[in-house]
């Protein structure tokens, strides 16, 4: 099975002003293998990929060998020439162009576009994947999963020998992930190597042959996947073992705080009824597109329902817009925290205190800056946001810390009900554990939490009760601790009966 070595990277260092992002890192990839690249956020994975795909140039002394010959990548086209293609996490496609052109773009350097060739290349590439697709369709009309296949087809069409997949499953549903795995298998058979970047351990164990682990810009090691188990891998990544599970102590459910009856919205969800108690974490799970986010958005006034009733502490309330939701002490932390949650050009303290500015005015209606500093510092400590400089711009924090800032921003409103959509989407394992702990603590303090999550591990580790949604309906409800976990997953995928 072990093919010959296709790519070797040796002594790779990368220095940015003031930071050494990579220090003497190495990586070798064999033909036809799936090689996982792992590490926490900030470990240097992205930088390494950028070097490998020609986006960034490493420091002098770094060596890259393809087929044993030393090469230099001075641009993206160089690495493509050597058969290395990256599929970036955001797919880096053009929504406004057709499938065919998305696959074709970047060729025809002599200035003219040959549309016949464009269609031909695209159709061939799609065929290699063993799928069918209308290549003249505009990309933005396709689902994310299909768009990803287009990105893969694009990479293959360049006679790729190494595909870099950056978190390919992050936005896919279960069945789509299955389809991706089968395509990876096909590519392996054609002797194409895959560098697989993922935060999800179970995936790495399922698809990869070998793993290279980075930590803080340093090379930790490269192991055959068979030599590892989850704990050992996590240990390599964080340098200590993290108690990932076992947060599931018995929590007490208090009074019923929220009750939803027969909530429906055409094309979104139907007959949604459930209750939420103080101090409870209620998980709302199911496949992507099951209507989970739409449902919680309805509770926050972002997606008002057509019919149905919402009761808060036994009183019927209307939530037609966000300010009514906030007034009723409901907070919502959206999935896309960078895009929807933060104003990157503002300081951390201004971001955190934005939702409560109206509450901390001086008698003359000016903003009480002292109060701003105090509140911000309070939450920086509570969530251990690093670095703890409250005047630093949000832009200058790492991804994990930006997410914490976004969370702090909503906690500061002291909500009774916290709705959080995919709390740890794209977060490294250490931050994930911290966020889980935080949610658990908040629940203990009496906050009622609704968590939307596609990760079963997270659902089982964190929640007290689970609601499974499928095709816009709640198809299953159970206690997490006592319920049958296999049954829950089955319901999500297969639905009723």
């Amino acid at each position: 099975m072990a093919g010959k070595v296709f790519l070797q990277m040796e002594n790779i260092s990368m220095t940015f002003p003031g930071i050494k992002a990579l220090n003497n890192v190495r990586l070798d990839v064999r033909e036809g293998e799936v090689h996982a690249l792992m590490g926490e956020n900030g470990a240097g994975k992205s930088t390494l990929i950028k070097i490998l795909s020609g986006v960034q140039k490493p420091d002098v002394g770094s060596k890259i060998l393809v087929d044993g010959k030393e090469v230099e990548f001075s641009g993206v086209s160089d690495s493509i020439k050597h058969g290395i293609n990256a599929i970036h996490q955001d797919l880096s496609l053009f929504p406004n162009l057709s499938v065919a052109e998305n696959i074709y773009l970047g060729r025809s350097k002599n200035g003219k576009v040959n549309w016949k060739e464009c269609t031909k290349i695209a159709e061939e590439a799609i065929e290699v994947l063993g799928i069918t697709m209308d290549v003249q369709e505009q990309l933005s009309n396709l689902s994310i999963a299909k768009q990803q296949l287009v990105a893969i087809a694009r990479a293959i069409s360049f006679k790729s020998r190494l595909l870099i997949m950056d978190e390919p499953t992050a936005t896919l549903s279960f069945s789509e992930v299955r389809m991706l795995y089968s395509i990876i298998e096909k590519l392996k058979k054609q002797n194409i190597a895959i560098l697989f970047i993922s935060h999800k351990l179970d995936e790495v164990f399922e698809v990869s042959d070998r793993v290279t682990v980075l930590k803080d810009g340093e090379y930790v090691g490269c192991k055959d996947i068979k030599e590892l188990d989850e704990n050992r891998l996590v240990q390599m990544m964080v340098g200590r073992s993290v108690a990932y599970k076992a947060l599931n102590d018995v929590s007490y459910a208090g009074n019923k705080i929220l009750e939803v009856k027969n909530l429906s919205k055409r094309g979104n969800f139907k007959d949604i009824s459930f209750a939420l108690h103080k101090g409870e974490i209620l998980a709302l799970t199911g496949l992507v597109g099951a209507g989970r986010s739409e449902t919680v958005k309805a509770l926050f006034g972002l997606n008002p329902p057509d019919s149905g009733e919402i009761y808060l502490n036994g009183k019927k309330i209307d939530i037609k817009n966000v300010s009514q939701a906030i007034h009723n002490k409901i907070a919502f932390i959206p999935e896309d925290r960078h895009e929807e949650g933060l104003i990157l050009a503002m300081s951390m303290k201004d971001n955190i205190t934005l939702p409560i500015l109206k509450r901390i005015l001086t008698p003359l209606r000016f903003i009480n800056r002292k109060e701003v500093d105090k509140s911000a510092e309070n939450y920086v400590e509570k969530l251990s946001i690093r670095p703890s400089q409250i005047n630093k711009l949000a832009r200058n924090f790492s991804g994990g810390n930006q997410q914490k800032i976004a969370v702090a921003k909503w906690l500061i409103t002291k909500p009774d009900i916290l709705i959080i959509d995919e709390p740890t989407h794209g977060v490294d394992i250490a931050s994930k554990t911290e966020i889980h702990k935080l949610l658990k603590e908040l629940a203990k303090e009496g906050m009622a939490i609704i968590m939307v999550s596609s990760e079963w591990q997270e659902v089982f580790a964190l929640s007290d009760r689970v609601l499974v949604m499928r095709h816009g309906r709640i198809v299953h409800e159970d206690n997490t601790a006592t319920g049958n976990q296999d049954l829950m997953m089955e319901k999500a995928i297969l639905g009723g009966n």
């Binding site: 986006v55 993206v76 880096s92 406004n96 576009v113 597109g289 739409e294 095709h471 309906r473 009723g496």
Partner: protein, 324 residues
């Protein structure tokens, strides 16, 4: 057929037809050959600039210096044609393109090399180009452009030459957008700049070429303007950059970049010409023009945004199981 109906351009074209139909009922002279010809010929300079503007807008840029670039070219051409012994149709045309290339290249270089927002650079250069010709001419009109020059703007065998120029420019621009690597890069850069970088598109070069091309067309528009008018007012054509932008936007070019077409812009230009003329035909004081322009721009763009939002909302629908 369905594809044609779904296209944004078709909708605007239908509105245009409706408008023409209404105006012809109101005043039969609207549909006369002379009137139609006047509408079209008067729209040519803005139309040529709008073609370049379309490309600029697709990259998510903007060029508010086009009217100044056109007048920069027109003024020097008028002076050159009156005073130079080597002035003839060929040298004038070459000079027009050279002048446009210079002003466009300066814009493109400043925007691409230093990544400065294009609206700032072109606001600045608009003022500079205009300032240079105003200083040189003291703001005086240049009258009596030679006969051989204005002959290039006349009508022969019922075919007005300026319209031929415009058609050639539109065809070249459409061809560039559809069939050249540069043209497709324009859509790529405007649609997703990062993705464009990752597929090896040279972003800076593409952006430079965009403003360079826009400048070239402005230079040519100056040539056509002199030929049509027979005189040159260095302080004239104020606000035409807005007409060029409006024409492109009415024709469906996304001001945020990524999409747009020359055919749409052509329809947009015709629409603006017809509205202007329609007000005259309908004996509405010309002072109403600006107001009506503004309303039409806002109405068409609002309609387009609503249409897109509607399409998006349909996409997000979830299939609900009918049985629980």
């Amino acid at each position: 057929m369905k594809k044609i109906l779904e296209k944004r351009e078709t909708g605007v074209f239908l509105i245009l037809l409706l408008l023409c139909f209404g105006l012809s009922l109101y005043s039969p002279s609207f549909l006369s050959y002379t009137n139609i010809k006047n509408v079209l010929v008067n729209s040519v300079p803005v139309g040529i600039m709008a073609a370049g503007m379309t490309i600029v807008l697709i990259t998510a840029g903007i060029d508010v210096s086009v009217a100044s670039q056109m007048m920069f070219s027109a003024t020097w051409l008028a002076i050159f044609s009156q005073n130079s012994p080597i002035a003839n149709p060929v040298t004038v045309l070459i000079l027009a393109l050279v002048l446009g290339a210079i002003t466009g290249a300066i814009n493109g270089f400043l925007i691409a090399a230093f990544s400065i927002p294009p609206i700032i650079i072109t606001l600045g250069t608009a003022s500079i180009y205009r300032g240079i010709i105003l200083v040189y001419t003291n703001g005086r009109w240049i009258m009596n452009i030679p006969k051989w020059f204005t002959a290039l703007g006349k009508t022969y065998y019922n075919i007005p030459l300026p319209i031929i120029y415009a058609i050639i420019i539109f065809m070249i621009t459409a061809w560039i957008l559809k069939h050249t690597y540069f043209g497709r890069s324009v859509y790529a850069v405007g649609g997703n700049e990062n993705a464009a970088r990752y597929v090896g598109v040279n972003i800076k070069k593409t952006i430079f070429l965009t403003y360079f091309y826009s400048g070239l067309l402005c230079g040519f528009a100056g040539f056509v303007l002199d030929a049509i008018l027979g005189n040159c007012q260095p302080s004239g054509s104020n606000g035409w950059e807005m007409n060029a932008i409006a024409a492109a936007v009415i024709g469906g070019t996304n001001i945020l970049g990524g999409s747009g077409s020359v055919i749409g812009t052509v329809i947009g230009v015709a629409m603006m010409g017809v509205i202007e003329n329609g007000l005259v035909v309908a004996h509405i004081p010309t002072y109403w023009q600006k107001l009506v322009y503004g309303l039409i721009i806002i109405a068409t763009v609002t309609f387009d945004v609503l249409r897109r939002n509607y399409a998006d909302s349909k996409k997000q629908m979830i299939e609900i199981d009918q049985e629980a």
